[in-house]
């Protein structure tokens, strides 16, 4: 039996072609409280939401140079919640005046058999870490304040040690491509957080 022909055109529209707008910054441990107070006041009026996540980064090394990277993340506080698989593309090289980092983003919810499936497909886990902190929202914007910890024994999330003495602050928005007002709103929000934390566009390529 022949397999039915598969159209080569990729799926467009809907929730597939989403771009992630990102601004990052960091704040030292001792200044965390004031930042949290400030965020509590600026963001939507909700009880602050704590989270604890375990993220595994999978790499698929092909013949070409760049390996393909996928991030699988699960919640430690809510074990029954599904896993979250994320693909982040290359940052868009647009005009330099673009205020936030824009990259293509694909989000998929997955069941708890995700690590096995990825292993079967050929992905190999590159590294893993545990992120704990709080998240806030303001409209469509999400602010995540997290402390990253290194997992000492692979698979054991109890035994972790913090990577640094500071917290990572990320301001992100998921929006369809081509909306520039989003970065304006993000910048004005980031202005309000100065001088507690400076959120800026950090190109991951420059860090490597």
């Amino acid at each position: 039996m022949e397999a039915p022909p598969v159209s080569v055109m990729p799926v467009t529209g809907g929730a597939i072609n989403m771009m992630e707008y990102l601004l990052q910054g960091s704040v030292l441990d001792q200044s965390l409280e004031s930042l949290l107070h400030r965020l509590r006041g600026l963001c939507d009026n909700m009880e602050p939401e704590s989270f604890a996540d375990h993220e595994l980064v999978y790499l698929l090394k092909g013949q070409q140079g760049n390996p393909f990277l996928l991030r699988a993340r699960r919640s430690l506080l809510h074990p029954p919640a599904p896993w979250h698989l994320r693909y982040l593309g290359q940052p868009e090289v647009g005009d330099k005046s673009r205020l936030a980092l824009v990259r293509n983003c694909v989000d998929v919810s997955a069941s708890h058999s995700l690590p096995e499936v990825l292993n079967e497909m050929g992905f190999r886990m590159d590294h893993e870490f545990v992120a704990k902190g709080q998240m806030f929202r303001k409209g469509a914007m999400k602010v995540v304040v997290s402390k990253l910890s290194r997992v000492l024994v692979p698979g054991n999330t109890e035994n972790t040690e913090p990577l640094s003495l500071s917290y990572l602050v990320e301001l992100s928005v998921l929006a369809p491509a081509g909306q520039d007002t989003v970065s304006e709103d993000m910048r004005s929000f980031a202005e309000q957080l100065k001088p507690l934390v400076h959120l800026e566009k950090i190109d991951p390529k420059r860090l490597m």
């Binding site: 963001c43 939507d44 009026n45 909700m46 009880e47 939401e49 989270f51 996540d53 993220e55 991030r71 993340r73 699960r74 919640s75 506080l77 809510h78 919640a81 599904p82 896993w83 979250h84 994320r86 989000d107 998929v108 919810s109 997955a110 069941s111 708890h112 992120a131 902190g133 998240m135 929202r137 303001k138 409209g139 469509a140 999400k142 995540v144 997290s146 998921l174 309000q192």
Partner: protein, 643 residues
């Protein structure tokens, strides 16, 4: 005298100013009081040696004053002139004192010469009598002038005081801008952008997704004329709201009979409602609250119109300008309109349909506000927050849709099935149905006196369900005839009736159905009442049927019938009652009382005359008694002979 030793610091301090007069037993020192000015002067003056005369080269002024007496003494004093430079500042004092002494001596000499009256005599100086008495006009004028100067002084002082008070007040008012700003900040969200103070009056931080920015600007009120009196409601702070949010607005929900002309749509009268000003609240507060209300009404209306266009329903909703019209029931029209009056120019447009203010269903307007706030709260609930944190915002259960492979029905079951418009239409339907049911019951109760219909409405209701207990009774016989008790549950489109005997009947929204049903129940009640009465009176029920198949067909329900026999069996009463045909009562007499009895050869024995024979109809209308059961009781009593 100066030695080569290093310089020693010498500190000089004044000695104790006052001398200690005494030291009391508890160590308290009493100082001698310091000398006053005059005492000090006297002490110093004592040191002056007045025997020394002054020098020749002095100021000319002082020389002139001494010229009168110094001339005869000039020769004598020349030898005694001694310049005393230490007394130089006191020289004038000494000279004046000396001249005064000289004058006193001269006066003394003159008086002593006068005493003898030998060489000098005193003569009084003649006074001009006209000068002595000053005319009263002059006195008046002088008094007036003095009073005027005094008054002027006082007025000037008072003016200075009032000016300083006014200045203080003015300063306080100017300073009040900051305190007003503080008060504003305690109630509204403010932020500083450049040199402007902007605020946010939208519901976005409360969970709204309406795209209006809702920013207002805070400005200082500087148009104050200091010369004029400051008005009572003056506020140093003013807010500038976006032009589209000015004025006041409300959502009007009303149910009317269907208007025959569809061209009338869209002309909703802007019935201006005055905002009630709470005492003590500032202008800016009222302005901001009104603008926020306008924004919320716009959001509600935008949501309703979006749903009206998108949701498919059997009868489509019409959205015209600022009005949404839908048909909850045939012949009925529900209109939801956004009434926004800017308040600048009076809109005196007379609307074609002069709807009464009672037409406005305030409950539904309030419910609309509550529903949109519920919707806001849902976007802010923690159910939306993603775990793990990198996932996008979505409902907790929707995230499971992928891994659990939900199909379309499950996903649609998860999502919010009813929108704002549907909810409001359902509520409006229920309100209308409830009011119509009440009207039906009340009209029946007022129209029909026998039997009586009572309605007990339950206080606790739902937005979609109310209930009422209907009792059909006869006056005076409530305890005996209580077999017809109906519980009506009024829903959105139907009325569910639960009978006391357990039957459940569902009525539609038609008014006629309920009316017919109640009428049929009333007629059944009469027959039931006879049954209960028979038990009390000792009569025996021979037959009873709720729905007889004999006789003329009723258009509403069925007729019921009962036959009861007297205790001694001689008489029997048959009753047939129908909702339309009314009641028919027949009495069966014993054969002995019948007048025209056919003589038959078969029935010969006399004992057969005790059996009941022919029927005779009762003229029920001419019976005594105020209601059916009373009449029946009288009839039964009449047919039961005394033992």
């Amino acid at each position: 005298m100066m030695s080569g030793a290093p310089a020693v610091r010498v500190s000089i301090e004044s000695s104790c100013e006052r001398q200690v007069q005494e030291v009391s037993l508890d160590g308290l020192e009493t100082y001698a009081p310091p000398l006053s000015m005059s005492q000090n002067l006297a002490k110093l003056a004592q040191r002056i040696d007045f025997g020394q005369s002054s020098d020749e080269d002095e100021d000319g002024l002082e020389r002139d004053s001494r010229e009168q007496w110094s001339k005869p003494e000039a020769e004598e004093d020349e030898g005694m002139v001694k310049f005393q430079p230490s007394l130089w500042p006191w020289d004038s004092v000494r000279n004046n004192l000396r001249s005064a002494l000289t004058e006193m001596c001269v006066l003394h000499d003159v008086l002593s010469v006068l005493k003898d009256k030998k060489y000098m005599a005193l003569d009084p100086v003649s006074q001009d009598p006209s000068v002595g008495k000053t005319p009263q006009v002059f006195q008046l004028l002088s008094k007036k002038k003095s009073l005027a100067t005094a008054a002027q002084l006082l007025l000037r002082g008072a003016e200075k005081l009032t000016k300083s008070v006014v200045e203080n007040q003015e300063q306080r008012r100017q300073r009040d801008f900051n305190s007003e700003l503080l008060r504003l900040r305690s109630q509204w969200k403010l932020r500083k952008v450049g040199d402007k103070i902007l605020g946010d009056l939208s519901y976005r931080s409360a969970g709204s997704l309406f795209p209006h920015h809702g920013t207002f600007e805070v400005i200082k009120n500087t148009d104050l004329d200091l010369d004029k009196k400051i008005p009572d409601d003056y506020c140093p702070l003013n807010v500038q709201i976006p032009s589209e949010l000015e004025g006041s607005a409300y959502i009007k929900v009303s149910i009317q009979k269907q208007s025959p002309d569809i061209g009338d749509l869209g002309t909703v009268n802007l019935f201006r409602r005055q905002a009630k000003a709470k005492p003590g609240s500032q202008m800016w507060h009222l302005k901001l609250e009104a603008a926020q209300n306008v924004l919320l009404c716009k959001e509600i209306f935008a949501q309703l119109s979006r749903e009206a266009v998108q949701i498919k329903s059997q009868i489509p909703h019409i959205v015209v300008k600022n009005q949404i019209i839908s048909q909850p029931f045939p012949g009925l029209q529900l209109s939801i309109s956004l009434c926004h009056s800017t308040g600048e120019k009076k809109n005196q447009r007379a609307s074609p349909d002069k709807s009464k203010p009672d037409d406005h269903l305030y409950v539904l307007e309030h419910n609309l506000h509550q529903l949109i706030r519920e919707f806001h709260k849902q976007t802010l609930s923690s159910v939306v927050m993603p775990h793990p944190a990198s996932a996008p915002f979505s409902h907790k259960r929707m995230r499971m849709a992928g891994p659990m492979a939900y199909d379309k029905t499950e996903i649609s079951a998860l999502q919010q099935s009813e929108g704002l418009l549907e909810k409001i239409i359902k509520q409006a339907k229920h309100i209308f149905l409830r009011s119509r049911t009440a009207r039906t019951i009340d009209s029946l109760a007022s129209r029909i006196e026998d039997p009586q219909i009572q309605a007990h409405w339950s206080n606790i209701n739902d937005v979609y369900e109310s209930s009422v207990k209907v009792l059909i009774t006869s006056q005076g016989y409530e305890q005996i005839c209580k077999s017809i008790q109906l519980q009506l549950n009024i829903g959105v489109e139907q009325i569910r009736v639960v009978h006391r005997d357990g039957r459940v009947i569902t009525l539609s929204h038609q008014e006629q159905e309920l009316q017919d049903f109640l009428l049929s129940q009333m007629s059944q009640h009469q027959v039931h009442a006879v049954q209960q009465l028979a038990k009390v009176m000792g009569w025996h029920v021979l037959s009873f049927s709720n729905h007889v198949g004999l006789g003329p067909i009723e258009s509403i329900g069925n007729a019921s019938a009962i036959t009861v026999a007297s205790p001694n069996g001689e008489y029997a009463i048959s009753v047939r009652n129908g909702p339309e045909s009314g009641c028919k009562v027949l009495v069966q007499f014993p054969r002995s009382q019948a007048k025209e009895l056919p003589k038959s050869d078969v029935v010969q024995d006399a004992k057969w005359t005790h059996l009941r024979g022919p029927y005779k109809e009762v003229h029920w209308g001419r019976m005594e008694g105020r209601n059916f059961v009373y009449k029946m009781e009288l009839l039964m009593a009449a047919l039961t002979p005394c033992p």
